[in-house]
């Protein structure tokens, strides 16, 4: 039943661009990119038990690295992606090294602090980052595949490129969570103290998880910059860090697809509500509060629990 549903959803993702309009296609692309971002966040939050308030730092670092490379070089899409992911990787290594030394609220504050530092650098270093104007006017890199070069400019091509990375992220995270590493980080989430007493170097595993999450967020940032055709400081602002938090809580942190559903609901709500009012955050708050109070497992988590209960009841 569940399998059939996911298979149907997968088919839908593949055929969607052939009947959707331009707006819906761009809209869907953005949701997929933010889903990757939220999924990477949830590796830390839902599976390692660390709430980051600075995850946009890596989204932005990956994105700005890609924009700078596209602006100053003639590299193709794949080299730019790999290099930008490497920049996000090394940034996460350094920032994570300090953040994982504390957990709970202190971890959250450390990530928030680093996030603000990255924002300030991006915002003030005008000569490199373009300051508050951001970076734009670069030409989109070409994608070399099988000795052929593709332009990633057509929305349909870019949608499929994003879909590829979205599915790759899902597969990668699924494998990761079903691996020994996945069990160790879940054990840390459950009980960090006891984890140390079974021989786990807790800080080290948290650090590895932080670096994987940061690198994936960087990849999402690269896609976002080429989708938006600019890198802007809003990408690294703390409100961007709040997005995956909100999406994950909406969808359900303990459900594998929770962040994806959360991203979908977030965007659709934002779209509907902003047609009536500018103050869409008030509406988001009105939805978020009852979800946190009555359905702390999020939409998908609560749904899964309800189905499990019904099934065991019958």
């Amino acid at each position: 039943m569940k399998r059939a549903f996911y298979a149907l959803f997968l088919v839908f993702l593949f055929v969607f661009p052939f009947f959707s309009g331009m707006f819906a296609l761009l809209f869907a692309t953005e949701i997929l990119i933010l889903s990757i971002f939220a999924l990477s966040f949830n590796l830390l939050f839902g599976y390692t038990g660390l709430l980051s308030f600075g995850h946009a730092a890596f989204f932005g670092i990956g994105g700005y690295a890609a924009a700078l490379l596209a602006y100053h070089t003639h590299m193709g899409f794949i080299p730019i992606l790999l290099l930008s992911a490497a920049v996000a990787f090394f940034s996460a290594c350094i920032i994570g090294f300090f953040c994982v030394r504390r957990d709970e609220i202190y971890f959250a504050m450390l990530t928030l602090g680093f996030g603000m530092m990255v924002f300030t650098v991006v915002h003030q270093w005008r000569s490199v980052t373009g300051g508050s104007d951001g970076l734009s006017g670069f030409s989109l890199p070409e994608l070399s595949l099988l000795f052929t070069k593709f332009s990633i400019s057509p929305p349909k091509t870019f949608y499929f490129l994003t879909l590829f990375f979205f599915l790759a992220t899902l597969l990668f995270l699924k494998r990761l969570l079903d691996s020994p590493f996945g069990l160790i980080i879940r054990s840390i989430r459950e009980n960090p103290e006891r984890a140390a007493f079974i021989g786990v170097n807790v800080n080290f595993y948290r650090w590895v998880s932080f670096v994987i999450a940061g690198t994936l967020a960087g990849v999402a940032g690269v896609l976002f910059v080429f989708y938006d055709r600019m890198a802007s400081p809003s990408m690294v602002h703390w409100t961007m860090s709040a997005r995956p938090v909100l999406m994950t809580i909406l969808g359900g942190a303990r459900s594998f697809f929770g962040p994806v559903l959360g991203a979908l609901v977030f965007y659709i709500l934002e779209y509907i509500v902003t047609q009536f009012t500018e103050n869409w955050m008030i509406f988001l708050g009105c939805i978020l509060v009852p979800i946190v109070i009555f359905f702390p497992d999020g939409i998908l988590g609560s749904l899964e629990r309800w189905i499990a209960r019904r099934r065991s009841g019958e």
Binding site: S179, P180, R186, F197, G199, V200
Partner: protein, 252 residues
């Protein structure tokens, strides 16, 4: 026989208050020893310093000839010194199987296997089932630990300690809060483990019935200091111990 654990002049102070004062003791290979004392005697603090949870104020801890004073807990565990906790301290949302599997994977250095599926860790899973059989939870492998009865959670606590393949285990009040039936089950489990594995055990315990039925030697801690040590008979006859326990209960 050589000592597995050797503690020399261990002291732990919190500000002006010293919870453990100049305690020295040895535990030999293949030995079950008890550490007893009234509430607040410093037993749990002693464990916490020995296993690296707290830093020692002074003194040394030597395990299998290696100094382990103030090493972080995960390194001490890797050297073969494991512990259980007085207040159940397990991975509640994980299944019983996962609770036992995690320490095995870490021990075997598989923690960073990112792409291997847990189901393919056949050798490690086999070991999990052996431990589950030993602690009597074979039929509950796939139950989330949070759903277990209290006595079963305590058994998981012991199973986790065993899964690190220790040379020695420190058990902190393994029967705390148990019914008499559960207590008997725990006593026979500890005896069985000792016979089958020959791991050394140091047990803190409130229940004198448990202590006298398991331990060959007993250390008595009182207000942070080592008050006495000896065989159960010697401890029972020791007037200082009787006084510390306000008479009575040592005979219980």
């Amino acid at each position: 026989m050589t000592p597995v654990l050797k503690v020399e002049g261990l002291t732990k102070c919190f500000g002006d208050f010293c919870a453990v004062k100049n305690v020295s003791l040895e535990v030999m290979e293949e030995e079950i020893v008890a550490l007893i004392g009234p509430n607040g005697a410093g037993k749990t603090t002693f464990y916490n310093v020995v296993t690296g949870r707290y830093k020692a104020t002074s003194g040394r801890v030597i395990f299998c000839g290696k100094e382990i004073t103030n090493l972080p807990p995960h390194r001490i565990v890797k050297l073969g010194l494991s512990r259980s906790f007085q207040i159940t301290n397990i991975f509640l949302e994980n299944t019983v199987l996962e609770n036992i599997l995690a320490p095995i994977l870490i021990r075997e250095g598989l923690g960073l296997s990112f792409l291997k599926n847990l189901h393919k860790c056949k050798k490690q899973l086999e070991e999990v089932y052996n431990i589950l059989e030993l602690i009597g939870l074979s039929d509950k492998a796939n139950v989330p630990a949070s759903l277990l009865a209290y006595g079963d959670k305590r058994a998981v606590e012991i199973g986790i300690a065993l899964a690190t393949k220790p040379k020695m285990v420190l058990l902190d009040e393994p029967t705390a809060g148990m019914t008499p039936v559960e207590t008997d089950r725990m006593i026979s489990l500890i005896k069985k483990l000792f016979e089958e594995t020959k791991i050394s055990f140091l047990i803190t315990e409130h229940d004198m019935r448990v202590v006298f039925s398991i331990a060959k030697r007993i250390f008595v801690l009182h207000q942070g200091e080592l008050l006495a040590s000896g065989t159960p008979e010697e401890i029972r006859a020791n007037p200082k111990v009787r006084e510390a326990y306000l008479g009575g209960s040592v005979d219980a």
